[in-house]
């Protein structure tokens, strides 16, 4: 039996959802225009007045916002409420450039807790569950985001934070954690460590995992599910929009339902900015329609994805977005070919290698070079040199056929690829353009 945290909302009719969106968008545009001078200027420059936005149909008229806007207004330039109403700040450093700061009112946090609780219930959690949070706590939204939702649900929260994998495993066993929340690469790493300790998923009571903040593949999902003996679910979110929980996966494990009562999703052509029809792949754009402190509108996430309407077996009526293919920021252009790290990961896992890899892009004599370093595993190691080399050639062939590009594969020692805060450093681009 499918369970919901807020069935009247999660399974509302499309007409009802649309009515909420129309009403809330109109209000939100007015709120941003009146309280954030930067927004007023953006809209004025584009010749759009708040009254031009009468419903979701008018959304396309609004200007886009970019990460650059958040950097340019650092730290509080996009806040729409006085600081006395801001009860929490979060920040994201990103891999490039200055950090950005976002604020939350008490009401914003309440909504955030609700949408995370929806995710938890969708993966089968109840107040009986012990939710083990291995996302980093702090300015990063992962730790406190899941923490708030699990607390609101009434589950038992185990705020472990990230790092010290041996200790994580001790807690998983001794405290009897039933739901694990962390990045997918960290989940895979915990699984791997468990395996090395001679343990399997049967030795821990864990039953489900909620993994986000990184692009991950279906193969990685299988790998994690197998190693930890759980069902692994995807969660989507960005600090700019709210944090984890903007979209959540259900029992169908086929895409994530967007919390449309709070966010409007659009898929656009990243080149032209034009809104694309359903089913077409493009850049994901989000508008927050209930957020008080930080009313971001038409925010260009740089994530590449696709949305699907239509009914879901779980009974929820919110539109579903695919697992993002990767960030358009992460997208590498190598010898004119678009390459996403997630594609490389898929090939590695398909060929029996681990998801512990690093992509090194360089330019030698004006030609781009792509090297994929992957950690050797006990499963892929054999005393037969010829066999190792044969598997390596197969992998290179696999990459060539999927990416349309020749890559060099380098086998490296286990645990030699650097991980920071559980998040693997996937790409090193040495090209000086």
């Amino acid at each position: 039996m499918e369970r919901y945290y807020q069935p009247e909302i999660e399974c509302a009719s499309r007409e009802q959802i649309r009515a909420w969106q129309d009403e809330r968008l109109v209000k939100q545009v007015r709120h941003a225009y009146d309280h954030v001078p930067y927004y007023k200027k953006l809209m004025d420059d584009k010749g759009v007045k708040p009254e031009d936005i009468q419903s979701v149909d008018d959304l396309y008229k609004l200007p886009f916002t970019y990460k650059k806007d958040l950097r340019d207004t650092y730290p509080y330039g996009l806040f729409a409420v006085p600081m006395k109403d801001v009860v929490r700040l979060h920040a994201s450093s990103g891999t490039t450039g200055k950090q950005i700061v976002v604020g939350y009112t008490r009401e914003d946090l309440d909504i955030w807790d609700d949408i995370v609780a929806r995710q938890l219930v969708a993966v089968g959690a109840t107040e009986e569950d012990k939710v083990h949070i291995s996302y980093g706590y702090g300015l990063f939204t992962g730790g406190l985001g899941l923490h708030g939702g699990a607390t609101k649900l009434g589950a038992t929260v185990i705020p472990v934070s990230s790092g010290n994998t041996q200790r994580q495993i001790t807690i998983l066993r001794d405290f009897g954690s039933t739901v694990l929340c962390c990045t997918p690469s960290y989940a895979a790493f915990i699984g791997e460590t468990l395996h090395e300790m001679g343990l399997t998923g049967k030795d821990i009571p864990l039953k489900a995992g909620i993994f986000g903040a990184e692009a991950w593949s279906e193969e990685m999902r299988k790998d994690i599910e197998e190693k930890l003996g759980i069902k692994a679910y995807d969660i989507y979110g960005l600090t700019e929009i709210m944090g984890p929980g903007v979209a959540y996966e259900c029992s169908a494990q086929q895409g994530m339902h967007v919390n449309e009562d709070h966010f409007i999703i659009e898929i656009i052509d990243p080149e032209t900015g034009e809104v694309l029809p359903e089913g077409q792949q493009g850049e994901i754009v989000f508008s927050c329609i209930t957020r008080q402190a930080f009313p971001l509108l038409r925010y260009r996430t740089r994530d590449i994805g696709v949305i699907h309407r239509g009914t879901c077996s779980c009974g929820r009526t919110f539109v579903k977005m695919s697992k993002p293919m990767g960030r358009s920021d992460d997208m590498l252009i190598i010898r004119g070919v678009n390459v996403f790290p997630s594609q490389i990961e898929t090939v590695l896992l398909n060929h029996g290698y681990s998801a512990n890899y690093q992509i090194i892009v360089d330019r030698v004599k004006s030609t781009d070079t792509l090297e994929v370093q992957v950690e050797m595993t006990p499963e892929m190691f054999t005393d037969n040199m010829g066999e190792i080399e044969r598997r390596q050639r197969e992998l290179v062939e696999g990459m060539r056929s999927l990416l349309g590009l020749a890559a060099k594969v380098k086998l490296v020692a286990p645990k030699s690829i650097v991980r920071s805060e559980g998040k693997a450093v996937r790409v090193i681009d040495k090209r000086k353009i």
Binding site: M376, P378, F381, T382, D383, I388, K410, L411, V412, A413
Partner: protein
Amino acid sequence: MSIKQISVFVENTPGALYGLTGVLAQHQVDLRALSLAETSEFGIVRMIVDNVYQATTVLKDAGYVHSLTPVVGVAIPDVPGGLNRVLQVLTDAKVNIEYMYAFLGGKSVDHAYMIFRVADEATATAALAARGIQTLEQDAIASL
């Protein structure tokens, strides 16, 4: 009878082999034989040690990927034609040799030892035994 060889994955980088021998030395694992197969990027270190269980435990703890491979060890009299005689036997028995390496034996000064990686250890051992050539047993390694 075959003996157990430990094969270890190492990167072909300065100090990689030193790191491995360092770990073994630190835990008093005695190397009886060692051979290295390498490409420009990685290598397989093959070794015969006195205490296989201890060595594999130490390697696992230190994070090395390794495997155990059965190999055939033969004591060869240190006289002209010694190796040739052994190879003759294996050739006659149609035993395919994947690789081999030698080491000069501990206390015995008049023998050299050869390690053979063959497709079929049982056939190789039987063929050698039929011609009066004894193969090494695992227990004997520690006392070499």
